[in-house]
Amino acid sequence: MTKEYKTITEISGPLVFVEKTEPVGYGELVEIRTASGEVKRGQVLDTSDEIVVVQVFEGTGGLSKDSSVRFTGDVIKMPLSPSIIGRVLSGSGRPRDGGPPIVPEVEREIIGAAINPASREKPRAFIQTGISTIDGTNTLVRGQKLPIFSGAGLPHNDVALQIARQAKVLGEAEQFAVVFCAMGITNEEAQHFMADFERTGALERAVIFLNLADDPAVERLLTPKLGLTTAEYLAFDLDMHVLVIYTDMTNYCESLRQMGAAREEVPGRRGYPGYMYTDLATNYERAGIIKGKKGSITQFPILTMPGDDITHPIPDLSGYITEGQLIVSRELHRKGIYPPIDIRPSLSRLMNSGIGAGHTREDHRAVSDQLYAYYAEGCDLRGLAAIVGKEALSERDKLILEFADQFERRFVNQGRDEDRSIIETLTIGWELLSMLPETMLTRIDDKYIKKYHPKYAGTAKKE
C-alpha cells in the first residue's frame, strides 16, 4: 500500500523535488503519473525529512506540479527469465521489439553487490579472437574487461563485431551469449550492429538494450546496469559465458556529468563528477568468474576519446579500472590497415595468465615482447628517418625500420572475416623476426629460437 503525492515543488532538468512525504528510502524506485496518464520512472537521489529529490529516467517532459508521485518502497529491479535471450529492450528495460513484457522468474536489483574478491576465480582461459594484434600481443582471457579506445570515424564497431563473431575458447563448445548495450548511439550505428547480429545468427543468443541518441540521456545511466544485471543472471544462474559489449561509454559519462550539473554538485576534472571513477567501477567491475560457477562475464566497452585524447577523464579513469585497453589508431586507419589497432599503447593486463605452455604456446610471451620491442623502436626511427633521411641510418636501424613496416602490413593487417588461429599468428610473428639477425633476438630464450625460428624449421622436432 503506497500513497500518491501531489507535492512536487520544483522540476529542474531531470530532477523532481517532492515535499512532505512519509519517510522514503534512498535509491527507491519512483513512478510519476502525468496529467495525460503517462507513467515515468525515476529513482530517489537524496532523501530527508523535508524534501525528496527524484531523478527521472524517461525525461521530465509533460510533468507538472499536478503530476502524482508514487514511491514504490523498493529499489529498481530487472525482471529476468531464460526467455529474455533474443529480446530487444529499451534503454530502461522495456520491450522494444513489439514482444510481450518479460515474465520474470527472478527479479534482481540492478545496483549489483560487489563480487567478494575472495570468491573470484582467476581468469586464465585464453579466448581466441582470430585477430593477431589481440591474440598475439594483447591476449584476451575469459572474465576480462578490455575496452576499445577509439576516436570518431574509426572502425571500432567493426572490430567489436569481429570479436563477437570469432571469439572462442579453444577446444570447448559451451553455451555462450552476447549482451549488447547501446547508449546514445545513432540509429544508423544501431542498425549496423543489428544487421550483423542477424547475419551471423548471433541475435538468437543475444539480449539487446537500445538507448539511441534521441532517447532520454538520463535513461543511459540505467542501460549498462540493466545489461550487466542480465549478464550476471545468464552467467551465474544459467551457466553461460557472456560477452558484454557496450557502446558508447563516452555518452554514458556525458549523462553522468549532465546529472551532476543538474544536482549542482561540485564538479571534478572537466566538469565530470568526482565520483565518476566509483561509478564507472560499479559497471566495469561486474566482469569475472566466480569460484564453483560455470559461467563468466567478459566485457568489451567501447568508448570514443574526445579529440583522440587518451588523457581525457573518460578514457583515463576507464583505463585505471579495466584490465588493459585496445587503442584504435587514426594513423594506421589512414594507411588503410585494418584492424587499425596500435599495439604500442594497447595492453592486456591478464595476458600472462592466458598464454604460454598449456594455454597457447611456450614461446608466446617472448615472441610478443620481441615484436613489441622492435616495432616500437621502428616507429621511433621513422621520426628520425624523416629528419635525416633513410640513407643516414645505420644498417641495424634500416633493418628495424623495414621490420616495423612489414609488421604493420603482415601482422596487424588482416581481413574483416579473417579468423587467424593463434599458431598462425605466432608463425607470422616468427617470420617477421627472422628478418633480423639471430643475435638481435635478445628477449627470446635460445631454446625457443632453436625450436621455432624458421631457420631451424625441419631440423627441430615438431611438438
Binding site: Y26, G27, S48, P117, Q144, T278, Q325, R344, R349
Partner: protein
C-alpha cells in the same frame, strides 16, 4: 549508548540527529546496522559516512552508537588473512553471504574461538612495561607472534601468568592492580602506535630488482612512491616487491583496485615460495582488498587499517613492508566524500587537507626503537595513479614532497616492453648516501663506484641520443658510438628484468654486481681496443658480448660468466 535517527540520506553520506558520538566514532546506521563513521558534527546534526551501500535507508531509521572509533583487532590469526577495508575477513563474508558481498554483516577481524598456544616470557613478580612482550604464540611456522602489554596500558607487576591454549579473549596474565591481559588488542586505526624514537634509514631493503637495488634503493622503514599512468606496470612492480623483499611481514593494501587483479594475487600468493625460507609467502602476508566497486568509505579507511596492522608487527620487532595500491584511489575516496559533504574544494576538487592526510600517513612509516626495546620498521611503497600520466597533479606532487624514493614509471619504456619501466633519469632515491657504507661492506667495496660509472654512461647516453635524433648514429665520433653501445647493454642486459621469468625475477646482490661489472669490463676492453685503432664495428660484434645478454636468465650463472669473460678477453686480444 544513545540512539539517534536518520535525517537525510545522499549516497554514502548520512545525516543523523540525537547522537552524542564524537568525531570518528563508529556508529551503526539503519535497521540493518550498517558500519559507519562520524566525520562531521554541525549543530545538532552528525555527519556520517557509511562503509556500505545505503540503498533503501529511510529518514527516521535508528542510528546506534558503539562508544568508540573504528578499531583494528590485533592478535594471533591476522597473518594469511584477506580482509576488506574495515578488517572483515573476506572468506568469512563469503561464507555468510555468498559470492556477492551483502550489507550489515559484522565479522571479527581475528577469530575469537580459535585457541592458540601461549608461552609466557615473563614470570610472576616481574614488572612489565607498555609494549613489552609477556608471551609468545607460534602464529606461523616461522613467525612468532609476540603478545605485548598494550601501548596505552600502564603496565605493572605480574600477579598471575598462564601458559597453555587460550582464545584471544581469555586472560593470559593478571597484574597486581587487577588488570587482566588477553592476546587481543584493539587500536583506533587513525592513530599512530607509539615508539620510543625513530631511527635513521641505514639498512637497505633488498628487492632483488636490479634497477631498484642498484640505482634507486629503498631503506628498511623508508617510503617510496611509484607514480605512473595506467598500464605502466605499477601493480606488477608492487606485487614483485611483495614477493621478493627481505622483510618479515608484507602487508598489501589493494585500495580501489581491480577485482580480477586481487583474484590473481590471492591465487598466486599461496603458491609463491619465499626464497629465503622456502615457506609459502602467504604465511608472512596480510592482504586488504577493497576493490573499486566496494563502498568508497571503506576504501578511505583501508589505508589506515593496513597501517595499523603494519605498526603492530613492527612493535614486535619485525621489518614490515606495506604496499598501497593505489594511494590515488584513496585520495579520490577522500575527494568523493568531501564533495558529498559539500566542502570547499582545493586543487582539482581534492579537499584542502589532502597534503596533511598524505603526510600523516607516510609519517607513520619508519625504522624505530620500539617500546619493547630493539628495533622494528615499517616501509611504505605507495602507488600513485596520476590522471593522464601527468605528474604535476596534486596527489603526485604532495606525495613527492614527503617520500624519499621516487620510482618514475615511464610509458615510453612500457611501450618497448622494457620492464621494470622505471625511468633511470627521472627517478631518485635519497637513501643512496645513507646506504653506501652498508653496500661497500656487504656487497663489494667498489659496488658504489661501479653504479656511479654506469649512471654516468646512461646520462651521457641521454645527451647523445638527442644528437642522434638529429643526425643519425653513424655521424657520431667512434668513441661516442661505443658509449651508445655500452649504454644499450646496461639498459637491455642489466636494467631490463622480467618479473615473469623464473630466474630473472629475483636477482641477488652478488649477481647484480657481477653482471654490471662484466658490462663495464667490456667497456674497458672496448675503449682500449679503440685506442689501439680497432674499428667500432669490429668491437661491437665480438660474439661474447651477446652471450652476456642471456646470463641474467641463468640460475647458476657464475661458471658461464667466467667462460664468457675469458672468451671476451681472448677475442679482444685477437682484435687488430
Amino acid at each position: 549508548m544513545e540512539v539517534g535517527r536518520v535525517k537525510r540520506v545522499a549516497g554514502p553520506v548520512v545525516q543523523a540527529v540525537g547522537l552524542k558520538a564524537s568525531m570518528y566514532d563508529l556508529v551503526l546506521v539503519g535497521e540493518e546496522g550498517l558500519m559507519s563513521e562520524v566525520i562531521g558534527i554541525s549543530g545538532d546534526k552528525h555527519i556520517i559516512q557509511v562503509y556500505e551501500d545505503t540503498s533503501g535507508i529511510k529518514p527516521g531509521e535508528p542510528v546506534k552508537e558503539t562508544g568508540g572509533p573504528l578499531v583494528a583487532q590485533l592478535g594471533p590469526g591476522i597473518l594469511t588473512q584477506i580482509y576488506d577495508g574495515v578488517q572483515r575477513p573476506l572468506p568469512l563474508l563469503a561464507e555468510r553471504s555468498g559470492d556477492f558481498i551483502s550489507r550489515g554483516l559484522f565479522v571479527d577481524g581475528v577469530d575469537h574461538k580459535k585457541k592458540w598456544e601461549f608461552q609466557p616470557l615473563v614470570k610472576k613478580g616481574d614488572t612489565v612495561k607498555p609494549g613489552q612482550p609477556i608471551g609468545v604464540v607460534q602464529e606461523q611456522l616461522l613467525i612468532k607472534h609476540k603478545i605485548m602489554v598494550p601501548p596505552k596500558h600502564k603496565g605493572g607487576v605480574v600477579k598471575e601468568i598462564y601458559s597453555g591454549n587460550f582464545t584471544v579473549e581469555e586472560t593470559v596474565c593478571v597484574l597486581e592492580d587487577g588488570s587482566q591481559l588477553t592476546m587481543l588488542q584493539k587500536w583506533p586505526v587513525r592513530q599512530a602506535r607509539p615508539v620510543v624514537r625513530k631511527l635513521p634509514p641505514t639498512i637497505p631493503l633488498r628487492t632483488g630488482q636490479r634497477v631498484i637495488d642498484g640505482f634507486f634503493p629503498l631503506a628498511k622503514g623508508g617510503t617510496a612512491a611509484i607514480p605512473g599512468g595506467f598500464g605502466t606496470g605499477k601493480t606488477v612492480m608492487q606485487q614483485t616487491l611483495s614477493k621478493w623483499s627481505d622483510v618479515d611481514i608484507v602487508i598489501y593494501v589493494g585500495c580501489g583496485e581491480r577485482g580480477n587483479e586481487m583474484a590473481d594475487l590471492l591465487h598466486e600468493f599461496p603458491e609463491l615460495v619465499d626464497p629465503r625460507t622456502n615457506r609459502p609467502l602467504l604465511e608472512r602476508s596480510i592482504v586488504y582488498a577493497n576493490t573499486s566497486n566496494m563502498p568508497v568509505a571503506a576504501r578511505e579507511a583501508s589505508i589506515y587499517t593496513g597501517m595499523t596492522t603494519a605498526e603492530y608487527y613492527r612493535d614486535m620487532g619485525y621489518d614490515v613492508l606495506m604496499t598501497a595500491d593505489s594511494t590515488s584511489r584513496w585520495a579520490e575516496a577522500m575527494r568523493e566524500l568531501a564533495s558529498r559533504l559539500e566542502e570547499m574544494p582545493g586543487e582539482e576538487g581534492y579537499p584542502a587537507y589532502l597534503a596533511a592526510r598524505l603526510a600523516d600517513f607516510y609519517e607513520r612509516a619508519g625504522r624505530a626503537e620500539i617500546l619493547a626495546g630493539g628495533e622494528g620498521s615499517v616501509a611504505v611503497v605507495g602507488a600513485v595513479s596520476p590522471p593522464g600520466g601527468d605528474f604535476t597533479e596534486p596527489v603526485t606532487q604532495n606525495t613527492l614532497r614527503i617520500v624519499k624514493v621516487f620510482w618514475a614509471l615511464d610509458s615510453r619504456l612500457t611501450q618497448r616492453r622494457h620492464f621494470p619501466s622505471i625511468n633511470w633519469l627521472d627517478s631518485y632515491s635519497l637513501y643512496e648516501k645513507d646506504l653506501e657504507s652498508w653496500y661497500a661492506e656487504n656487497v663489494a667495496p667498489d659496488w658504489n663506484q661501479l653504479k656511479r660509472r654506469a649512471m654516468a654512461i646512461l646520462q651521457e647516453n641521454a645527451e647523445l641520443e638527442e644528437i642522434v635524433m638529429l643526425v643519425g648514429s653513424d655521424a657520431l665520433p667512434e668513441d661516442q658510438q661505443l658509449t651508445l653501445e655500452v649504454a644499450r647493454m646496461i639498459i637491455n642486459f642489466w636494467l631490463a628484468q622480467s618479473a615473469f621469468h623464473p630466474v630473472d625475477t629475483f636477482c641477488p646482490y652478488k649477481k647484480q654486481y657481477d653482471l654490471l661489472k662484466a658490462i663495464l669490463t667490456y667497456r674497458d676492453y672496448a675503449f682500449e681496443a679503440l685506442h689501439r685503432g680497432v674499428a667500432v664495428d669490429q668491437i661491437k660484434s665480438v660474439p661474447s658480448k651477446d652471450a652476456l645478454a642471456k646470463l641474467k636468465m641463468v640460475e647458476d650463472y657464475e661458471p658461464e660468466l667466467k667462460k664468457v669473460m675469458d672468451q671476451m678477453k681472448a677475442e679482444f686480444e685477437a682484435l687488430k
